[in-house]
Every structure is written in C-alpha cells, then in structure tokens.
C-alpha cells in the first residue's frame, strides 16, 4: 500500500476516475465523500492547516498513475468540506482554504486538556509559547496554525476560561488561564 507522509493511502487512490470529477450525481456524492475523508486525514497526519488551490498539494496528484485533480475538482472537494463546517475559505476568490481537521470547539477542548495536564490552570503564557513551547511538544497543539489557535482561545475567553491581553506587537499576545 502506498504512503504519503504518515498517511497510508487507500487502494482507490490508484483508481483513475477518482481524479476526474464524476458528472453523475450519486457517483459524485460518493466520490466527494471519499475525498473529504482523505483530505482531512492527510491534513491531520501532516499537520496542514492551509491548502492553496494554486499551490502544490501532494494529495491532489498521483504520479504513479499520472493523474491529478483539475481546479474545478479541487474547488468541489474543498467546498464540500467547507459546507460540512470542517474548513473555511480564507479569501473571496476561494484560492486558499483553512482546514479545521479539529473543529474550533474541539481545539478549545484540547487546549483545556493541555492546560490541565501541565498544571497551567492559573499561569500566564504567550500565544507563541503555546504553539511552539516545550510543554505542547507531542500534542496536536504543537505547531498549530495561529489563526486557528486564536479562534480557539477567543472561544475559551468568551466562556471565561482565560483572558487574552495584548502586548506591543502580535508576538506579545499573552494568555492568562483561569480554569
């Protein structure tokens, strides 16, 4: 079985019609379903948060069978993920897509668990520390997209679990947990 990074690719990744957007509705729905799962799985294993439609994205082509998705198909599959609430377009032109392989709510829960696991209930951390500090190493939080992180933190702030305070630059943004 082929592998792409950490991800084991399913057999149908070598099925040429998988790379052509199918015109028949039922078949297309099934195809879109399979692509949604595969894109989310791939982003999760590779920790990819942003997919650019005009940039190289390893999953969208299969050199073994010399097939790759055209623009229309890429838009169709990403749009399907967007309408499931598992991704968001980052611009009006639909050229960049933010993939939420954990929903914002799930990210918030993961952060809370991380805080509890590390005994940080009442401490202060900078946002950068959360993303790339020693404590988060080995968790999904490590190296996570700043935009996604900020949105998860805002959600927690609204729930009163923490307070975000601004420094002089964006790098200075800090968080005071009060779990």
């Amino acid at each position: 079985m082929q592998k792409l990074g950490e991800l084991k690719l399913p057999h149908f990744f070598n099925y040429p019609p998988y790379f052509t957007l199918q015109p028949v509705r039922e078949t297309r729905e099934k195809q879109i379903q399979l692509w949604k799962e595969l894109i989310l799985d791939y982003c999760r294993t590779q920790k990819i948060f942003v997919v650019g439609l005009e940039e190289d994205f390893a999953l969208f082509s299969n050199p073994a069978i010399e097939r790759s998705l055209n623009h229309e198909a890429r838009v169709a599959f990403l749009s399907a993920i967007v309408s499931d609430g598992r991704a968001e377009w980052m611009d009006k032109g639909h050229r960049r897509c933010l993939i939420l392989w954990h929903r914002i709510q799930d990210w918030a829960d993961i952060i809370l668990r991380f805080v509890k696991d590390n005994g940080l209930e009442d401490s202060v951390m900078t946002v950068e520390e959360i993303r790339s500090g020693i404590e988060s190493r080995g968790t999904d939080i490590h190296g996570m997209d700043r935009t996604v992180l900020m949105r998860a933190l805002k959600l927690l702030e609204n729930k009163g679990k923490l307070a975000i305070f601004k420094g002089t630059s964006t790098d200075d943004e800090g968080v005071k947990f009060s779990v």
Partner: protein, 451 residues
C-alpha cells in the same frame, strides 16, 4: 354479402397500401366518402383516405377514427373496371355541398365490382377534405386513360423491358419487335456477343436516362426493372459459377446486389402526390422501409445513415432532413414497430421498439470487467469494436451506462475512458476496507497483478 361490393386491399402494418409491381401513387385525398347512391343498402365507406394510383383507387379507413378492427379494412376499385368518369356539374347546390366525383364501374349481377362485368353501377366520391376536386378529377382521368395496368396484366417482367432485353429465356425474344433476325447463341463467341448486346442496351438506357430529368423520370420504372434484373442475374451467376468465382468477386457481387436492392422504392411519397398528408404518409413509408436495414444493423441506426439510405432508395424524389425528422417524430402517433430516440448528447437514432438497451448494457458490463479493462478502462473505440457498432453510438451507450451509475469516467491527457464504478463498493466509514468478491476487490486484484 353487400358489404364486400368493393375489392379488399392489402395494407402494411404501418397503414400504407401494399402496391403491386409497377404501381405508382398519383394523388392522395383526405376524408373521402365512398358512396353507392344507386344502391343505398350497400354500406358507405366514410371519411377515409383515398389514394389514386396508376392501377387502382384505394380507400383506406381513417386510422384515428376506427375503433373496431372489422371496420378497418381497406378497399379498392381497379381502374380497369371503370367504364366512365362523369364531368363534375356546376350548380348552385354544388356550391355549398362537398364536391363530388362520380364514375361508372362494371359490376357482376350481384353488384360486386369486377372488370368486364355484365352490369354497371355509379359510385360517388364525396371529397370532404380541403382539396381541389378539379385537379383530382384531372389526375383520375389521366390515370384511367393511361391504362398503366395493361402492362402489368400481361404479367411477365419481359413485357416492360422493351427491345434489347437481357433475354435469358428463349421465349422472350419473340416479344422483341426490332430484331427480326437473331444470331443463335453458340459457343464462347455467342456468349461474348450476348454480353456485348447487353452492354450496349444497358449503356443506351443509361444515356437516355441522363439526357434530361424528364427523360429520367420516364425511364425511372425501366431503371428499377433493370436493377432488379441485374440483381437476379448476379444472383444466378454466383450460384452457377461457384467454382470459378473467387471470394473477392463474390464480395463485390454481393455489394453490387445491395446497391441494386437499395434502388427500389417504386412509388415514393411526394409532396405533389400526397399534399397535406405528405408527412403522415412519408412517416408510414419510412417505417416500412427501415425494417430491413435496422435488422441488419442490429436494431439500432443513426438517423443520418437512415437519411442516406432512404434518399438513395427514393432516387430522384429526395426529401430534406427536416422532412425526415418530422416523419420520424410522427411515429409516436402511429402504431409502428420502430421509434426515434434522442440521446442526451443530441445524437438521434432509429431503433426497433423491441431493441433493448439492457442487452447492450449487459455486454458493456462484461466488457469493463475484463482484467485489461479493469486496469486501463475502455474507450468508445474499444467498446465500438466489441459491440460491433459505430464509435459515436458506443459512446452514447457508455454514457448511458455511466448515468445509471455503472461506469465512471476518467478524463486525462490519455483521453476519455470509462471504468467500472468501484465507488459503490467502498465503505465511506472505512476507506481501507475491501469487501471480498466485489468489483472493488476485482479491480484491486487486476491492478496489483499488473505491477
């Protein structure tokens, strides 16, 4: 019984009259009553289609109005039995009533229409349709005076051939008027001379025919006869000289026969003869015509192919593509065994109603599940080769199978190919699960085997 005072007439399944050899349609009149005013006990034939041919007057019941099969019998009056046609009288009364045409026929003492009957009787035609009675009367006269049936009554084909006939029977030369002295046919030189004569006569009639269009029209009947004759000749030739002819000659002879066969619609429906009924009659004639080519082509044919065949068979009275389309779309209204089908791409075909897409579908099904096709898919050309049909048609069938969810497409720089649909076999909750003995499994086996 009084009911059969007229002679019965045969019709085809699509409701066109069966014409005798050499019989040509002259004029068609819608909603005509056939009344026997002398003998009111005899049943009246109401509001049917009247067809004037060179041999007969045919009355066909109106297909929309007939309900019981017993009343749907077509009848005919041979022109040979007509003894007099009355000129229409112009009167004040006639201004308001439907135009009538009266003619006298000879009948048997019981009142049945018959040639050279001992008694006579007057039949009235009431023309209810919007038509010109005078022009019809003119044509009626013309047909009657033409006595075209006399050529056919004498029966044999030879009678029409004229001088310099192909003359394969000894008796035929006696009917030739021009050649009093004939060299006996002896030996190889005799055969050669006979061939030469045949050549010359064929050449002559061809030249005559092409001098101008009128001459061609006059010669049309002879041409059809000639074609038929040549076909017969080829047929008998290939049987008797089987030891001499090689395969190539046989092939070309068969081809020649096909060409000659396709020459012959003797009485094409024309706008002139059918008038307002043109498309309806054309539609019926077409339905009769397409049966044989359809059978040869496996029950389905491109509309364009039919157009070519049909016009070639019509010879000079060509129809426009628009007329053909209209004729085909009228089939829905008639009870004919063929239908017009339009594929989603816009390609139109004619097919037998009995022709089933299921059969084609199952052949495609077995084609795409062969190990090669599982790996590399099938193109329209591959399918055309396997199914024995045109690539454009094969593509339509593949697209139809795709829309049923059985095939998937693969569009790439390599071309447009179809694969068996394995999406249906994949579990959306577990992308790695492969069900045993499904098409997905078969596909994996085939692709792994190729690596």
């Amino acid at each position: 019984m009084a009911g059969n005072w007229l002679l019965p007439a045969e019709t085809t399944t699509s409701g066109r009259p069966v014409l005798r050899p050499g019989e040509v349609e002259f004029s068609l009149q819608p909603s005509v009553d056939l009344v026997n005013e002398e003998n009111p006990n005899f049943p009246t034939f109401k509001s049917g289609l009247l067809i004037l041919t060179t041999y007969r007057l045919l009355w066909l019941p109106n297909p929309e109005s007939t309900t019981s099969p017993s009343s749907s019998a077509a009848v005919s009056v041979p022109l040979a039995a007509v003894t007099h046609i009355f000129q229409s009288k112009r009167s004040i009364k006639g201004m308001f009533a439907s135009p009538r045409v009266r003619f006298q026929v000879s009948v048997t003492p019981e009142g049945r229409v018959q040639e050279r009957g001992s008694k006579s009787m007057v039949i009235t035609l009431v023309l209810r349709g919007k038509s010109d009675p005078d022009s019809f009367l003119g044509k009626f006269w013309e047909a009657w005076r033409g006595k075209a049936w006399e050529g056919s009554v004498s029966g044999s084909v030879e009678g029409v051939e004229g001088p310099g006939s192909l003359g394969d029977g000894g008796g035929s030369s006696s009917s030739d008027t021009g050649l009093a002295l004939k060299m006996p046919v002896v030996g190889v030189s005799g055969i050669l001379r006979k061939e030469q004569e045949m050549w010359e006569s064929t050449d002559k009639s061809l030249q005559d025919a092409f001098q101008d269009l009128n001459a061609l029209m006059n010669k049309a009947k002879d041409m059809v006869m000639l074609a038929e004759k040549m076909r017969q000749k080829l047929l008998s030739g290939s049987n008797s000289q089987a030891n001499v002819t090689n395969d190539e000659e046989m092939g070309s002879k068969e081809e020649m026969q096909d060409w000659l066969l396709s020459v012959g619609i003797v009485s094409p429906v024309t706008k002139e003869s059918a008038g307002a009924l043109y498309h309806q009659q054309l539609s019926r004639q077409l339905a009769d015509f397409v049966k044989i080519p359809l059978e040869k082509a496996g029950g389905i044919m491109n509309l364009i192919d039919i157009y070519c065949l049909f016009n070639r068979a019509r010879g000079t009275e060509l129809i426009s593509p628009d007329d053909l389309l209209r004729a085909c779309s009228l089939w829905e209204k008639f009870n004919v065994p063929v239908m017009l089908k339009k594929f989603e791409s816009g390609v139109m075909v004619i097919q037998n109603k009995s022709h089933s897409d299921e059969e084609v579908f199952s052949r495609i099904r077995s084609l795409v599940q062969k190990p090669d096709a599982l790996q590399t898919g099938v193109s329209a050309t591959d399918a055309a080769r396997t199914l024995g049909i045109a690539p454009a048609m094969a593509k339509e069938h593949l697209l139809a199978a795709e829309s049923k969810g059985f095939l998937c497409r693969d569009v790439s720089p390599d071309g447009f190919r179809f694969y068996v649909n394995i999406f249906q076999d994949i579990d959306p909750n577990d992308e790695y699960l492969v069900k045993e003995y499904g098409v997905y499994d078969a596909w994996i086996r085939a692709t792994i085997a190729s690596r």
